[in-house]
Each structure stands twice: as C-alpha cells, then as structure tokens.
Symmetry: C2
Subunit: 457 residues, 2 copies
Amino acid sequence: MKKFLIVLLFFFPSFKIHSQNIDKELFELSKKIVRTSLIDQKGYKWLEELCKIGSRLTGSENSYRAIEWAKQKMIEAGFDSVWLQPVMVPNWKRGNLEEAKIIKSKKYKGRKLNITAFGGSIGTDKKGITGKIIVVHDFNELKEKKDLVKGRIVLFNRPLDYGEVEPFAGYGGAVNQRTRGAIEAAKFGAISVIVRSITTKHDNVPHTGVMYYEDTIPKIPSVAIGYKDADFLTNALKDEPDLEVNIKLSCKTYPDTISYNVIGEIRGREFPDEVMIVGGHFDSWDKGCGAHDDGGGCIQSMEVLDLIKRLEIKPKRTIRCVLFIDEEQRQSGAIEYAKFAATSSQKHIAAIEADRGVFTPRGFYADTDSLTLNKLQSFLPYLSLAKVDWIRKGGSGVDVSKIKNTKALFGYVPDSQRYMDVHHSDNDTFDTVHPREFQLGSAAMTILCLLISELGI
Amino acid sequence: MKKFLIVLLFFFPSFKIHSQNIDKELFELSKKIVRTSLIDQKGYKWLEELCKIGSRLTGSENSYRAIEWAKQKMIEAGFDSVWLQPVMVPNWKRGNLEEAKIIKSKKYKGRKLNITAFGGSIGTDKKGITGKIIVVHDFNELKEKKDLVKGRIVLFNRPLDYGEVEPFAGYGGAVNQRTRGAIEAAKFGAISVIVRSITTKHDNVPHTGVMYYEDTIPKIPSVAIGYKDADFLTNALKDEPDLEVNIKLSCKTYPDTISYNVIGEIRGREFPDEVMIVGGHFDSWDKGCGAHDDGGGCIQSMEVLDLIKRLEIKPKRTIRCVLFIDEEQRQSGAIEYAKFAATSSQKHIAAIEADRGVFTPRGFYADTDSLTLNKLQSFLPYLSLAKVDWIRKGGSGVDVSKIKNTKALFGYVPDSQRYMDVHHSDNDTFDTVHPREFQLGSAAMTILCLLISELGI
C-alpha cells in the first residue's frame, strides 16, 4: 500500500477518551512510556546480552552466569533493592550423547533420526536401547494395542492440531504424550518412547520439555523427534514394520542443587507495603537461548522497573520484578517466592506473569472477580497505546498463580501464532524476537503496573 | 511456559455467545472456515507460486505472467466467472544501471552507496549526475537553506519516527520526502535528491515507492538510500562537507501500456445482483516479490472465494474478488473498476481491501455510518474465531474507496509492527510470511464476506 494514509490516521483509534474518566497526566505518561520503550530499545539490547550467555537450564553453569548478570543489571539500573532468593532446584543434565539410528532395516539401515531427550528422562547405557517400534496416537490406542507394546519402543505420533486457532490449545491437546507418555507406555512393558515434536513449524528441529515418571512404574527413556523425521519414520514403518531403532542417551538427573530467584524493586512512595509483582521465569530449556521462553518475559519485567526509573516516576506502591527460577520442571522458585509472600508483612495486591512469548501485545488475562475486572476495563484507553485491545477473564501463569490473596493475577498475552514454532527448541533464538513487538510488551506491562500503583485496584 | 494450559483454556474467550443473537449455523460454518484455512494452507501455497514468478511492476513481463497465473488459478478453482478487465497503466522501468558513489573525498573516495531509484524518477546520462550534498530534514529546513541548494544533491534525512506505535503513522510522517522531495528541491535548483529509506528495519536495504513531478518544475532524479548508508553519509558529511557524490540511473518512463484487473466471482443464489467485493492490488514494486505488498492480500482475496467453493457454500449474494492493477502509481485499475461499477446494473453493497500486509488479524476498519457499524459489531463473535478483535471506524484502502454508493468499505487490519521492515524493498519476500498468520487473514475475510452475503448489511 502506498498513500492516503492521512485518511487512515484521521479515523484512528478507537477509544473515545473524552467520554471516559481519563487521568490526563497518566495518559500522557503512558504515551511517553510507549515512545521511550520503542525508541531506546533498552530491553531489547538487554535480551541480546542475555541470549549471548546462552540457555539457562536449572543447575547449569549458564544459569548462574545469567543470574549474576541480571542482578548486576538491576543494580546498575538503580533499583531500590536487589536480592537473590535461594531455592533448591532440579538438576537434570543432558550430557553429550544423544543419538537415534535405524539399525535393522533393508532400506533405511544407518539412517539417523533427529531426536532430543525430554527433561527429566533417564539415559541409557553405552550400547543404548534397541527395539521395534509401535505407533500410537493417544493413550486409548495404546491400551487397545497393549499386547503389542511389550519390549518395544512406542512412537507417540499425534501432532499438534494445526487447525486450532490458538496454538496453546493445540499444544494442550498434544502435550500429554510428552508429560505422561513414558508412564503410560511403561505400564505395558515398553522400553522407550519417542514423541512427535509438539510444534507449529514443520521442520526437523526436535522440541523438548518436561516429562514425568511415577514411582511405582518402571522408568524408560523418553525423547522428542523432529516433525519431519516423525513423518519419515511413520512412512518407513509402513514399508518395514519390523525395522529396529537404537537410542543412546547420556542424560541424567543429579541431586537437587541450589539456585536463585532474582528480585528487584522500586519502593512505593506512599504505600511501600503494597506490592505489585511483574515477572517471568528465568530458567529455560537447554535449546536455543530461551529468547521467547522466557528470557524475553523476564527482560520485559526488568524493563518495567527500568522504564519507571528512566522516566523518573516515583510510584505510589512498590513495584517488584521477580525472575522465578525453575518454572519448566517443578516451579520450585515460584513455590519459594509464594511462601515468602504468604509470611511477609507486605500485601501483594496484584501480579503479572509474562510467559507466552514476546510478540505484539494483544491483551491481558485477568484472574480476578467481576467487579475488579470492570474497573480494569477502564484501563484500556491507556493500554491501547501499547496495542493492548482487551482484558478478559483468564488464567495468569503457573508462577504468579502460586501467590495467594492478591486482588488480581494477570497473564500478559502477546500474539501467539509463531510461539510454538520456537518453543523448547533450537529455534528459540534472539533473531526471532522483533524489537518493536518486544518493546511494546515492556510498555504494556509498565502501563498496567503504573495504573495499579497509582489508581489502586 | 509449560503447563496448566488447561486452566487457560477453561477461561477462554471472550464473547458470551449465548447472550447475543448468534446464528448457530453460520457460527459453525465460521469455525469450519478457520480450521480449513489453517489446515489446507491452500492460499499460502498459492502465494509461494506467485512469489516464484517474481515482482509485478506494471508493464513488466512478470506482471503479465502473474496475471495469467491468477486467471488460471481462478478458473481451476471453479469460480462462476473469471475475466480480465483491460486498463492502461504506467510503464516505468528501472533498467540495469543504478549506482551511487562518493567520487570526491579524502577519506571516502570510491565508497559505494546503496541506493535505488524511486518509481517514476527520470534517469541520468551515462556519466551520471555529480554534486555536493546538502542535508535537510523537512521542507521548512529546505526553504531556510534554499540559497545553498542550487546545483547540489539534497539528502532528505528524516527517518520514520520509530516512537510511533503505529508504523503506518510513522510512514505517513516521513513519506512526503519521497513523494514530493524532488519537486520541492528542484524549486530551489537542486540537481537530484537522495531520501533516507522509510523503514522500521535499520539495515541497508533501500526502500522504493512512488514519487511525483510537477509539469512546471524541472524534473530531477530521486533515489532512496539504505538506512545504514544514510547514517554513513550523514557522518561522512560532518567530516567532509564538500564531498561529492555521483549518481547513475538508467530508469525511464515509457508510454502507458495495457494491463488488466483480474476478476473472479461466485454468483449469489438469491441476490446475484448484489455484489460484495474483496480484493488487493496485484502490481508491486520491482523489489523482493511483493509478498506482503500486496501479493498476500490478493491471494487471501482469491482464497475467500476458494474457501467458499471448497466448503460448498452457496452464498446468497455475489462475492467477487478483484485484483486491482496499478495501485502503487496511479490507481488506474481501481479507477477503471469503479467506472464499471458505477455503470453496472448490479449493486455493490460492500467491499474489503486487503493491503496492509498479511500478519495476524487484529481488526477491520469500516468506512460506514454509525448505524451500520453497530450492526457490524454484532459480527465480532464470528470474526473473533479468526483472531479479529474489533471493527472500528477507519479508512478502507485506496483501491476500494473509489467504488461509490456502497453501504460499507472495509480495510482489513493485520498486525502492523513488521510491515515497514519489508515494504517496497528486497525484504518483501515469501519467507517473511507466516503460514498461520496468513491463513487467519483469509479466514477472517471469508467470514466477513459470508456474513454480509447471508445477513445483509
């Protein structure tokens, strides 16, 4: 398109700001937040630095370097207090060996398969595990075929439903293969499971994520396979149902180890004991650099406080950024923080979680009562400046939802269509983050924090 | 993020569909449209084919191949009628020579500058144009410095305002340098103009676009310079204000030539003479492949009809797809179609223009009266299935706005944050189009066409 944009601008937005009770000063400040965020791109530059450190699996060396880095950044930014909250976290390590190969087949012998172990999986010995494959699509089919499962590797082959408009819904419909596949398959004597990667991108990059065992059921190795190799293997098995695959993994769960939530705050000028939280989770999987999941959400949360400092705003209430460690496995960081919150003399009035990627803002989910939701809707004229179109009832996030007795818990909702392309995989890199989309998210959350700080909830 | 997605889904959306007057059959059909569009990805595959043909500058060989291709696709898809509407279009050609170089300088002699001529610019002779540079940021500054302009090359150096939340607004604030820069500079005796690329991506890819001359004012060559090279040149000039640049261009405007709007329709089963239009512009600049601008919008418009055929819907009213030729320069295709519409015995009830890129849907602008807008709002529960959050008063688009006496003209509005990265440049390629985002746009417009066809307006 080319011109007559003047016409477009003339009609532009949306909210009749005169017909509502708008605080002019806060409205102007909100505009300034958006402009500053877009122009300075400070958070975006921070994210680049963080991504250079690398992925942040709990207990990994990188994770400690990143924790130290974040603490330093918060200190340099001049937050009123910065501290680390210790917590014991899981300590699973992938190791160097991760390999799957077709070893018995007329046509495909020697063909490697692109796999990666799920977080928490046991490894194999050096010879690995070898077996024939049985393909199933869900736990019902597994049960129907239970007599064929013993001694075999189960290929869970149900893709994320691409026809779901909401990729998170598609993910939710496929993820039990990853989380419980090893348990269900082992019940019938399977020796390992391979799970089609849960992704909207049909490349060959395997997507990891957490998997569980149950104490009473044998533990078997569990891996993701790239989408294209899942297709390949499915077709190969039609040809040669008896082909055999060997899987070698060196991953292992080590004893829990110490790690930290990183916390920084700007104290409220009037009600320092009323606290508004904004945060994400600082751990990631050891794939890509966890740019969207959830380095980006963490940096946006840090930038909320930094923008407030940069613009020399003295908020009425305390605004605190919490980078929760270990969301991906056991939420130990969130549990630890919630314990602290429950016993603190301060009141946690609200919390925002940013953990759905860092694409263009769409809205906020609010876990709150209807009366509060109504009040929150009156914030939309301010929030729309950062491309937030709605606040709806909805879930917040696994970390902040552990904090009890708030008036509202929020989940920040950016556009989601590209998120599952990158999620838990080597695709989750800095270059998939767009500076404008990212910076609008920082701005949106800053505005929401500011409004709640100044106007209460 | 990782789990507890079930919670999220439970709260999910937004519209209390029971409290409104929802047509259950149309609602189910809308869901089916979204699913089918996402899963089949037929439009996305079409767009890939189109992009392989290449860019589609009016009068170029590629443009005729693309027109033939689109006509064939519409015939193969089984539309009730498919035809070409002839129209005379501009015939500017870039030619092979396009070069800028610093030729007089202590430090920078021989340094090439990444430039590209604007559409409509005159060329130079073989030796090119050589001159010193004067830097200005707007027409006021140009006027203030008018005594320094004579015999020089004017560098218009005002970037798109990155702090504008709406990139189209940023574009609107910078584009007069491109469209009228040569006119204003020539008034004071400039020999050429160079314009900082109007873009949100700070790489070195120059962004072209249309420029104008006035008959009474000397015509001088006008080119875009890559963002990074604009920075470079600005700094170099601080060092050496008298450095000289040589520009060589072989571009030329040839006599108008014949081209075509491509039109296909599905006739209404009940009111065949009431017509709903959906369209984009089929010409592009000769950079990249015009994937977002506006190959994507054209293919989405074709897919609206194709989805209706695929799902065996027999619409009440006629739905017609128009691929307008020549939006970028003179809108001759739109003017020609509007002439036809004005004299047709059929009534054009509404029209949608898709020409803002093919990212995730956000909403529709509607150029209509308030009463109709109210009725249109009741469509939101259906449209939200394809991620459309709002219908607001706003401009439609330069092509459909030429059609008179409709009840409503719509502009389809996808997310815009990445659009100016690619606009009118070599960045506008197929790989920047995301299949899900693209397909949701097809679905959103199909649903809107269907609702207007079935429920009237």
